[in-house]
């Protein structure tokens, strides 16, 4: 019976222009993503990453691989670095010499990260680095863009089911409200996860055939990307159930995915500066927000970092996202189960 609800979500989706556009965008990204790269062998016999647009090597991606790796390593110990940074500027007992020493520690950490990234880079052939970062760019770009379309496509799923005259027959069937709610939720999740999984598998095979590098880590990113979509859809489901308005769900989805996310990331970047300026309370609020609101950017970064085999997995954003996922689903179901239709 739940299968019927999931199947209906698919039929509903097929009628939505925005869902079709999302699939078309994914398909175009896939075709272009597979067609574009090719190996370029230079006169010295070395293989480089290249594109069908030029006969020359395109080393930009290999360099970006190293930069991204260094950035990720620094992010890994960001919390401890922030603590040191805070002490440097707020601890009044520090002498100028001690303060300088701590600043040097921070700078040294930055250098170490860069060196480690460069050293790691030397372990991975340049050609492979180029291909890996290319995959990172294709998957990342596709995901960020299609998530915007996914919000538009999914915002109406719950309000349409709960509309006057539409929900009565569904509720009169021998299904519990938990089955109905979870079926509708799973319908959206299954659709998007299937689309993402198909994209990644086909990209894995396609790029493997084109470049000779079968990068299995493409497949590793599927669970985290799907998890991000699940979280966003849980928020849409909650708002859609509470308001029974597709517009409200749509706006809230974009507010969370675009506005709140960008705001938190911007504030996080400014956090050291806020501390430096002595605005400790504002910096603390930012820190709290980071541990209270879901951060899709960080989840996305973690998923993409796993593509490059980077040692980065922060528990905090994942735990916050998990809490939001269950919180939204629980609250949404609670509203649905108690309401009269």
């Amino acid at each position: 019976m739940i299968r019927a609800v999931i199947g209906d979500t698919w039929r509903q989706s097929k009628q939505q222009v925005v869902f079709i556009v999302m699939l078309v965008v994914m398909l175009l990204a896939l075709v272009a993503g597979i067609a574009l790269p090719r190996p370029v062998v230079t006169a010295d016999g070395e293989k480089h990453f290249g594109t069908i647009l030029s006969d020359k090597p395109f080393d930009y991606f290999a360099q970006q691989w190293t930069n991204e790796y260094a950035k990720t390593l620094l992010k890994g110990n960001e919390a401890s670095r922030n603590a040191v940074r805070r002490d440097v500027f707020t601890d009044k007992t520090l002498t100028p010499a001690e303060r300088n020493a701590r600043i040097q520690v921070l700078q040294r950490e930055q250098r170490i990260a860069r060196d480690e990234a460069v050293s790691k880079a030397t372990d991975v052939p340049e050609y492979r680095r180029g291909v890996e970062y290319y995959i990172h760019a294709v998957v990342g770009g596709m995901f960020k863009f299609t998530m915007l379309l996914f919000i538009a496509a999914c915002a109406g799923y719950f309000p349409a089911m709960l509309g006057n005259g539409a929900v009565d027959i569904v509720l009169s069937k021998p299904l519990s409200r938990l089955q109905i709610y979870s079926g509708k939720y799973l319908g959206g999740v299954v659709l998007y996860t299937a689309a993402i999984a198909a994209f990644c598998v086909l990209l894995f095979v396609g790029i493997g055939m084109r470049t000779g590098i079968y990068h299995v880590r493409i497949l590793y990113s599927i669970p985290l990307l799907a998890f991000t979509a699940m979280l966003l859809y849980a928020i849409l489901a909650l708002i859609g159930t509470a308001s029974r308005s597709a517009t409200m769900a749509l706006v809230t989805g974009y507010v969370f995915y675009v506005v709140v996310d960008s705001l938190i990331n911007a504030l996080m970047n400014f956090q050291p500066m806020l501390q430096q300026m002595g605005w400790e309370s504002v910096a603390s609020v930012v820190s709290v927000l980071r541990h209270v609101l879901p951060n899709f950017g960080m989840l996305n970064d973690m998923a993409l970092a796993s593509l490059l085999n980077m040692p980065v997995f922060e528990l905090a954003p994942f735990a916050v996202a998990l809490a939001w996922l269950f919180g939204c689903l629980g609250l949404g179901y609670w509203i649905f189960s108690r309401r009269d239709y």
Binding site: D168, P174, D340
Partner: protein
């Protein structure tokens, strides 16, 4: 099982102040056709929705075929045609039946056969593969009935089933409802069309301001408000003798004079016999004798006008 539907003090209060249902006690016999009547806002749809757990009861209990109405399994053998339903516009008639049939736990070839049979029953076979967005109101009602009948439910809740259906379609639907009932299905009909309910239902209940005012057969309800079958209308020729005779009857009869002749209404059996004897003795031509009875509409209006507590009762 004697009763397909039973409720005990079933109540629904919205926001703690709007009493939509006030302690409803109902018993609907298995395989009967039960009609629920009431003016707009009486709580008819709320009662059906509460029985199906679409609306949560505030108090009391209800059972569908012996099971607690809140248990999803109780709805396994229940079909429902809601008032003002909206089917997904992206589905065809067959798609609607398939979706709701699957939700009811049906599947495969059995469901496909059932869909064909039910669509044929409501004369919608030729529109089965057309999207519902192109259906007229009457077609949507017939499709709604088809989806409600899938799986041959033991109880069928029909909320204003003939709403928007033309007279011919209404006649067909009435016949269809009768044949469904004949096959052993309990019909719970919610309608404001009194003639329809009077024609189809074995038993009715009148709901007003959230309370059941009367429950029983149509005959017992009309009788309870004065339609005991003794009121008789005698029509006979207009003549000087007839006029003279009428003067004698004046205290106990109501007399009208129209193109057909005199019409005399009497409300006692002895009066009727006496009048007929008198007319025959004086060779006055009698055109007709008919039993005048209060119909359901008169009884309904009479009951609705009365204060609820004064009339609430169950008739045998």
């Amino acid at each position: 099982m004697d009763y397909a539907i039973e409720t005990r003090d079933l109540s629904k209060t919205y926001n703690g102040r709007i009493h939509a249902l006030k302690g409803i006690n109902l018993r609907v016999r298995t395989a009967s056709c039960f009609g629920l009547l009431g003016p707009n806002g009486a709580g008819k749809s709320t009662l059906v929705k509460t029985l199906l757990s679409i609306v949560h009861a505030s108090n009391g209990a209800a059972q569908l075929l012996g099971r607690d109405h809140r248990d999803p399994a109780a709805r396994k053998t229940v079909g429902y045609l809601p008032e003002g339903h909206r089917f997904p516009l992206y589905l065809t008639g067959r798609g609607v039946c398939q979706y709701f049939g699957q939700l009811a736990g049906l599947s495969g070839a059995e469901l496909a056969r059932d869909i064909d049979a039910k669509l044929a029953l409501v004369t919608m076979s030729e529109w089965a593969d057309t999207r519902v967005g192109k259906y007229s109101k009457g077609m949507l009602q017939r499709l709604g009935l088809a989806q409600a009948m899938l799986g041959n439910p033991a109880i069928l809740f029909l909320d204003e089933p003939t709403d928007g259906v033309d007279p011919v379609g209404r006649f067909e639907l009435r016949n269809l409802i009768r044949s469904i009932q004949a096959s052993g299905t309990t019909i719970f009909l919610n309608s404001h069309l009194l003639s329809e309910v009077e024609e189809i239902c074995d038993e009715i209940a009148i709901l007003h301001r959230g309370s059941i005012m009367q429950q029983g057969s149509v005959a017992s309800i009309t009788a309870s408000v004065g339609g005991h079958g003794k009121n008789c209308l005698v029509t006979f020729t207009t003549s000087p003798i007839a006029a003279e005779l009428l003067l004698r009857l004046a205290p106990t009869a109501t007399v009208h004079n129209d193109q057909r002749g005199f019409q005399v209404s009497l409300d006692s059996e002895s009066g009727i016999s006496a009048l007929i004897d008198l007319l025959r003795q004086n060779r006055v031509d009698i055109f007709g004798i008919e039993q005048a009875r209060i119909d359901l509409e008169d009884a309904f209006i009479e009951l609705i006008k009365s204060p609820p507590d004064a009339t609430a009762r169950t008739n045998p």
